[in-house]
């Protein structure tokens, strides 16, 4: 496999957290043997979908170099990012890969003006000539996003709404002209009716600015709307991965089916009928030996409780489920 063809290549990525004191340690397998890749030539939006506890945020942090993996490799444009320690490489990496965090109000320090983050980013990555005037740069740049500098000038994070601030966070991330954006639940803290303005922005990023996005969310509706590929995560494992229309129009894995059914669509035609079981104690599900969904799966079989399913390819997607094993 030619690694330099891929924008990002993740292989067997695993993260184990240990909790407890020296005597009584419990281990949590937050991310278990995750592999996927994104091509370099065509920008794409790749969604990592899952509920809380699925490991998607931990995965995002590893991709950003903020958390060290326990095993596995992450190759960005052929370079192993775990090896990035010195400043020069870090500057190169952070120019290429930028984050969008979940809570826009925590993304910026409440004591600093938002515009300073944008201006500093531009200067630090040498995106503008040394003596460029702050006003003229910001006016021009924000115009691209349909934002007026006058509305933003001199303001602190709390003077904005969640949606506005998140758009500014995205604007900041794009200053370095990155090739990859990693957006961790970027719209979950914004009102449902205002999400589209941010979500549409991601679509434009791919089409107009040729930026690939790893979009992390638990909201399948927005995922369907903008992604090309989707990976469904459950307790650290990718249980189904494939083109978004395939996976969401016709889900194979029982967990994907459950996720799809639970989306509260704003129409009265589809109503929830069956009652579902929820998991009780998170740690318990993590420590199950077989498939992590065995406790809640309506199609559970004996083998599911003892053996972890292997990844197999079914109908154009990768899936981890005993139901589809060809014996």
């Amino acid at each position: 496999m030619n690694n330099t063809n891929k924008l990002i290549s993740v292989r067997n990525l695993t993260k184990i957290f240990s909790r407890g004191s020296i005597l009584f340690k419990t281990y949590i397998l937050a991310v278990n043997n995750v592999s996927f890749e994104i091509e370099m030539e065509k920008p794409e939006i790749f969604t990592l979908a899952g509920e809380s506890g699925s490991g998607k945020s931990t995965l995002a942090r590893m991709l950003l170099g903020l958390v060290e993996p326990t095993y596995g490799t992450i190759l960005y444009k052929g370079k192993d990012i775990v090896q990035i320690t010195n400043t020069k490489n870090w500057m190169w990496f952070t120019k290429e890969v930028q984050p969008i965090f979940q809570n826009p109000f925590e993304t910026f320090s409440p004591l600093n003006r938002v515009e300073d983050y944008l201006y500093d980013t531009a200067r630090n990555y040498k995106m503008i000539p040394k003596n460029t005037d702050k006003n003229s740069f910001l006016k021009e740049y924000l115009n691209i996003f349909g934002l007026s500098y006058d509305e933003i000038k001199g303001k602190y994070p709390h003077e904005f709404s969640g949606g506005q601030l998140q758009r500014l966070s995205i604007a900041r991330a794009l200053i370095t002209n990155p090739s990859l954006l990693i957006a961790d639940e970027p719209v979950s803290m914004i009102d449902a009716s205002l999400r589209m303005s941010v979500v549409n922005l991601f679509k434009e990023l791919k089409n107009r600015f040729k930026v690939s996005v790893i979009y992390i969310t638990h909201d399948l509706a927005t995922a369907y709307y903008i992604s090309d590929k989707i990976a469904i995560m459950l307790r650290g494992n990718i249980v189904e991965l494939g083109p978004v229309e395939k996976v969401l129009d016709d889900p194979l894995h029982p967990y994907t089916k459950l996720l799809k059914q639970s989306i509260p669509e704003p129409t009265i035609e589809t109503q929830w009928d069956e009652e579902i079981k929820l998991s009780t104690v998170e740690e318990k599900e993590f420590s199950l030996s077989g498939c992590k969904f065995a406790g809640r799966c309506p199609y559970v079989m004996e083998i599911c409780k003892t053996q972890e399913p292997e990844e197999i390819s079914v109908d154009g997607r990768n899936i981890k489920c005993h139901l589809y094993k060809k014996s």
Partner: protein, 287 residues
Amino acid sequence: MKSIMDLMKHDKQFLIGFLMLIFIIFFSLLSFFSPYDPQDRYVVQRDLPPSAQHILGTNSLGQDVFWFLTFALKNSLIIGILAVVLGRIVAIIIGLLSGYIGGTFDRVITTITDSFIVLPRLPILILLSFILKGNLNFINMALLLAFFDWAWPSKRYRSQILSLKEVEFTNTARFSGRKIYEIIFKEHIPFLIPYIMADAISGFLFAIGMEITLSVLGLTNLDIPTIGTTIFWANYYQSMLKGTWWWISSPIVVLIITVLGFYLLSVSISTFLDPRIRIQSKKTGDK
């Protein structure tokens, strides 16, 4: 400047504290205009009650109480400020290093810090002053006091740094190309400032209080005029029994004004600087 005007208008505590502070500074600056040298004794008639010539009367050593007090206050303030500055610098450095470096280094430093915290400061200071008596000039006094006052604040700064390290905007700063020292100074230290201010004032009061305690017990260099040594000499000459009340009460009144003034200032400033209040006063909408 606008902030100070705002504070003065709306916060009575700040106004009163600020006025008291102005008074204190003014009073100690008067020492530069004193017609008498505080080291001279028996230059005026002894034990005179307050009058037009001697505003606060004279003491049993033949000195004008008012002018002597200006020196006393000035020196006490200097010792207090020196002690605080030295102590806080050490506390900030250790707290920051400990918080940022973490790991074994942090554990070692924390153990040392904790040992300092449990030291009984007064008895040890008494002992040390007794030993060092002759050599206790300004600088040494300040150093000694600072030595015992850095531990507790450094723990507070460390815990603030620990939580700031994990906060999301620290990551944003890293991805904005900010270098480590920029992050420390631009992003994190502003959150420490309210604590530093509140600490500084309580440290200042500790230093002054300790100096007075030691002086009153006769353990410092009694030739240097400070609030504490004034009280010592007043006691030595039994000012209360003899009826020369102006000698012992005036340093105490000045002390009370100093303490109250700084306390009120610290409370109102740290409320004002509290990031949460600052954010609230900038918020526009509400539910």
